[in-house]
Point group: C2
Chain length 468, copies 2
C-alpha cells in the first residue's frame, strides 16, 4: 500500500506504517536486501533522545535506522511545538559532514522531507552511546584520535579557510532555515540558566543556593552575553550544534557522530566546547559513580553489555576501587574488570588533552595543506611569508581555544541548572553526593567562563581539573 | 509601446527606452504628475558613481530619479561582470532603512527586478554629494546630528538588540544573496591593498615605497585578517555597506543617504568606520586644497554651485587663507567667503567627534527604550539590574568603537593604495602635495588599525589628528 509512501503527506510512524513505508521505498528495500516480506522485518523503537523517534529495522539481509521528527519536542510533548523541518537540516548536515569525514558519520540512505524521515546506517552493537560508556568507566583509546579528526575536518572544510565566500554565503543562507533549533539552544543554553525559568531544575535543595548564585553572577552574565551574540551572529563553519557525548556512538575501534539536527553555520568553538565540556562533566561525575552504595556495577552491566572493554590495569586495595562485570560482544564469556576511578579520571583528562591537541594539529595541517586552496579568509598572495602565516594561525587558534572553553563552560552550566541534565550526574542516586559532584563541576565551569582567556594550553585546563 | 515595460525582460536604458518605460509604468507616471507626454520630460544621465546608471527625470509636474544596474561594473566596463541583482538588494535596503529612518533616506517609488531598475525621490538642488561639499570647504552644521541618527536607527533596529533571532536569521538569509557585492568589498578593501594587484594604484612615484610598505607590514596584515573574517562571518545588523561621503547627499539642513547596493547583514562597525574614515580622509585632504596654485576656487565653484554655505567667520592674513566664490541657491547673488583651512579642519574633527558621540548617545537611548522589547541578545529577564545592564552596554559600545576604528582605517588605506580613490585627494592637482596628504593619512590609518584598542574615546582620535 502506498498510503505512507514518499510524497503522500506527513504521517507519524507506527510499526505498521513504517513497514508499509519501507516496502514502498526502493532505497530502503535495497538496504534491507529486498527481504521486507511478511515476518521478515524486526522493528524496535529506541529513541532515547529528547526530540525524535528512532527505529531500528532488521531484516534477514540488512538493517537500517529510521529517524522521524514529529512537530514537537518528544520529551516535553505537543505542548512544545518544534518544526519537523529539523529532519531536513539533520540530513543535510549528516550528508555534508559524512562527505568530509566518512569514517565517523553514518551514511544516509534515504530522506523524505514531507515525512521528516531519514534512513541511515545502523550502528550495530557493540556500538553504544559514548555517554553511557563514560558512565560505565570504559576507556576508548581511539576516541580523541577519531573525534579530533571529525571536528578538524567538518569545521575546517566548511569554514572560510576552505570555502570561497560565494560557497559560504550560499550555505549560510540555507542553514538560516534551521532557526527554530538555534532558538532552542539560545533559550536553554544562553538564557534560561541565568534567569528564573519554569524549565530550569537542579538537584534540590542541595544546589538551590548555587543555582541562585548563577542567576546573580554579573560577571557570568556579561560573559554569556558575548557568547550568545557570537552564537547568533557568527557564521564561522557548519557546526553539528549538539555535539555532546550523547551524540557519539562508540566501540573500542569505531567512533560515529549522529544527531546533527541543530546544525547551522555558527562558531566552531561551540562544537569543540560541547565535546570538551561534556567530557569534563563525565570527569566530575566519576566520584559519584565510585562510592559503595551506588557503584558502577548495575549501570555498567545494563549499559555497556556487549561493549568490548579496554582494561588497562588491575588494581586492588584503596577505597575507591570498584569492580564490575561486562560480557564481551558476541560471546557469553565474562570478564572481571577492576578499574580505579582515579585512573579513569586520568584517562578522561588525557582524552580531553588529546582531543584538543590532536584537533589543533590536524586542523593546522589541513590549513597548511590547503593554504593555497579555495579558502578566501587568508589568501596565499597576502599570507605567503611563512612566519606571518604561522602568526595568523596562532591568533586564530588562540581565539578558537578561548571560544571553545567559553562554550564548553556554558554547556556544563546548563546541564546542571537548566532544563536538560546529563545521565552522568542523573545516574548518581545519592543526591547529596550527586550535588557535590555537580557543585564542583559548576564551580569549575564558572571559573572557566570568566577566566578562560588566561589559559593558553589545554594542559593548563586539565592540570586545574586534576588539582581539584 | 510596451517594449520596455515591466516584466518584458532586461533592457539597458537609453533615453528613448526610459521615456517609454515611464509611460508604461503607473507609479512613475503618477510621481511625474501624469505629465509624461511628448516634450514634457527632461532626462539627464548623472551617474558619477562607479557602478550604475542614474537618470534625473523632470516633468512639469514632478520629478524622479531612475537608477539602473547593468550586469557589469560601470567604471571598468563589461570586462568586470557584476550581477545586476544588486539593484534588488539596494531597493530592499533603501526601503528597510527608509522605514527606520525616513528623514534621511529617499523614498522608493518603484522597483522592477527584471530591469534592475529603481525609481526614487529626486534629491533636488541644492543637494550635493557630501564629498564634494567637503572638498569645497562647506560646513554642514546638522551633518553629525543627522548621520548619527541614521546609523543609530538603521543599525539598532536591524540588530539582535531589536530583532528576534527568528526575524534576524530570515533577513540574514535573504541578504546572503548579495554575495557578489560583498565579494567586491572583500577583494578591494580587505585583500588587494595588501598584495600586488593589477587594480591597485597610488600617487606614483611618490608613494611607491609607502604602498610597498603596506604590502610588507605583517602587523597590518594580521589586523586586516581579523576584520575581513568579521566582515565575512558576522551578521550583526543590516549595514549600508558603502557609507562613504559619496553616498550621502546634503544641503545645510538635509542629509540623505543613497546607494546601499552593498547592503547585507554585516558588522555595524563597517558602516560607522566608512563614515568616520572618509571624514578623516577629508581632513587630511584639506591641506592639499589650501595652497596657492591649487586653491579651492575652481573646485568649489563647480562643485558647490547653488549650495547654501555656512560662513562662520571671516579672517584675513595668514598663509593658509584662501577665498572662493559661491553662488547661492536660486539667485545670482554672489558672496565672497573667506574661510580658513585650519578652521575647516577643526569643523571636520568636531563633526567626527559629534558623529560618534551622538551615535553613542542615540544608540544607547534606543537600546534603553527597547530593553524590554523584541530584541533577544540581552533579555530583560537576565539583564534587569541597571548596573549590570549598563556594564553590558559599555562592553558592547567599546567593542563597536574598536571595530569602527579598524574598519575606518581599512577604508582609508584602500582609498590611497587600492583601486578606487577619493576625489578629496584626486582633486589635488599638485602630485607631490597630494602624496604628502595621502602619506599622512596612510600613516594615521596604519596606526589606527594596529593600535585602535588603545583608544577609548573619539576625542582621543581627534586629538591625535589635531596633533599631526
Ligand atoms: N544510526 C544509528 N544506529 C544505531 N543507533 C542509533 C542510530 N541513530 C540513533 N540511534 C539511537 O537512537 C537514540 C536517539 O537518536 P538521536 O539521533 O540522538 O535522537 P534525538 O534527536 O531524539 O536525540 C540514540 O541515542 C541511539 O541510541
Ligand atoms: N535620489 C537622487 N537624487 C539626486 N541625485 C541622485 C540620486 N541618486 C543618485 N544621484 C546622483 O547620482 C550619482 C550616482 O548615484 P549612486 O547611487 O551613488 O550610483 P553608484 O551606485 O553608481 O555609485 C550620485 O553621486 C548622485 O550625484
Ligand atoms: Mg540525540
Ligand atoms: Mg579515520
Ligand atoms: Mg537530537
Ligand atoms: Mg555611489
Ligand atoms: Mg553604488
Amino acid at each position: 500500500m502506498a498510503a505512507a509512501a514518499a510524497g503522500e503527506g506527513f504521517r507519524p510512524l507506527d510499526e505498521g506504517i513504517l513497514v508499509e513505508y519501507i516496502r514502498a521505498t526502493p532505497a530502503l528495500r535495497e538496504v534491507l536486501g529486498g527481504r521486507v516480506g511478511d515476518g521478515e522485518l524486526t522493528i524496535k523503537e529506541v529513541g532515547d533522545g529528547n526530540l525524535n523517534f528512532v527505529y531500528i529495522v532488521l531484516s534477514p539481509a540488512g538493517s537500517v535506522v529510521i529517524k522521524q521528527a514529529l512537530p514537537y519536542v518528544r520529551c516535553v510533548g505537543e505542548s512544545w511545538p518544534m518544526t519537523k523541518e529539523r529532519a531536513y537540516f539533520e540530513t543535510l548536515a549528516l550528508r555534508e559532514h559524512g562527505n568530509l569525514c566518512p569514517d565517523h558519520v553514518p551514511e544516509v540512505y534515504h530522506f523524505d522531507r514531507t515525512m521528516s524521515l531519514m534512513g541511515m546506517r545502523y550502528l550495530k552493537p557493540p556500538h553504544i552511546i559514548l555517554r553511557k560508556g563514560l558512565i560505565a568507566g570504559i576507556e576508548y583509546p581511539l576516541l580523541a584520535e577519531h573525534m579530533s579528526e571529525y571536528i578538524a575536518k567538518t569545521l575546517f572544510f566548511t569554514s572560510l579557510l576552505y570555502h570561497s565566500t560565494l560557497e559560504h554565503r550560499r550555505a549560510v543562507a540555507e542553514f538560516c532555515g534551521n532557526v527554530e533549533l538555534c532558538r532552542l539552544t539560545e533559550q536553554v543554553i544562553f538564557s534560561d540558566p541565568y534567569r528564573v525559568s519554569q524549565h530550569n531544575r537542579w538537584t534540590s535543595p542541595f544546589l538551590d543556593k548555587d543555582a541562585e548564585a548563577i542567576r546573580e553572577d554579573d560577571e557570568l552574565k556579561l560573559e554569556i552575553a558575548g557568547l550568545k551574540s557570537m552564537f547568533c551572529e557568527r557564521a564561522q563553519a557548519l557546526i553539528h550544534g549538539d555535539l555532546h557525548t550523547g551524540s557519539i556512538m562508540v566501540t573500542s575501534d569505531s567512533t560515529q557522530v549522529i544527531d546533527p539536527e541543530f546544525a547551522f553555520y555558527g562558531p566552531m568553538g561551540y562544537d569543540i566546547g560541547a565535546l570538551i565540556g561534556n567530557l569534563i562533566l563525565a570527569f566530575f561525575a566519576q566520584d559519584g559513580h565510585a562510592n559503595g552504595e551506588n557503584n558502577r556495577e548495575g549501570g555498567s552491566h545494563q549499559v555497556a553489555r556487549g561493549a568490548p572493554v579496554v582494561v588497562t590495569t588491575m588494581e586492588t586495595g584503596g577505597s575507591d576501587r570498584w569492580c564490575r562485570w561486562l560480557s564481551t560482544s558476541g560471546t557469553d564469556e565474562v570478564h572481571l574488570n577492576l578499574l580505579v576511578v582515579q585512573q579513569y579520571k586520568k584517562w578522561i583528562l588525557k582524552t580531553i588533552e588529546d582531543t584538543w591537541n590532536l584537533f589543533h594539529k590536524k586542523f593546522l595541517s589541513l590549513w597548511n595543506e590547503h593554504k593555497d586552496g579555495p579558502g578566501e579568509a587568508y589568501l596565499f598572495s597576502i599570507y605567503d611569508k611563512s612566519e606571518l602565516f604561522q602568526r595568523a594561525q596562532q591568533i586564530y587558534m588562540k581565539d578558537l581555544f578561548h571560544d571553545s572553553l567559553g562554550f564548553g563552560a556554558a554547556k556544563m552550566i546548563r546541564r546542571i541548572v537548566g532544563i536538560a541534565h546529563v545521565e552522568d550526574f542523573e545516574s548518581i542516586q545519592d543526591h547529596p553526593k550527586r550535588a557535590d559532584c555537580e557543585r564542583q563541576a559548576l564551580g569549575f565551569a564558572k571559573m572557566l567562563l570568566k577566566q578562560r582567556r588566561q589559559f593558553t594550553t589545554i594542559n593548563e585546563i586539565t592540570a586545574a581539573l586534576e588539582s581539584i
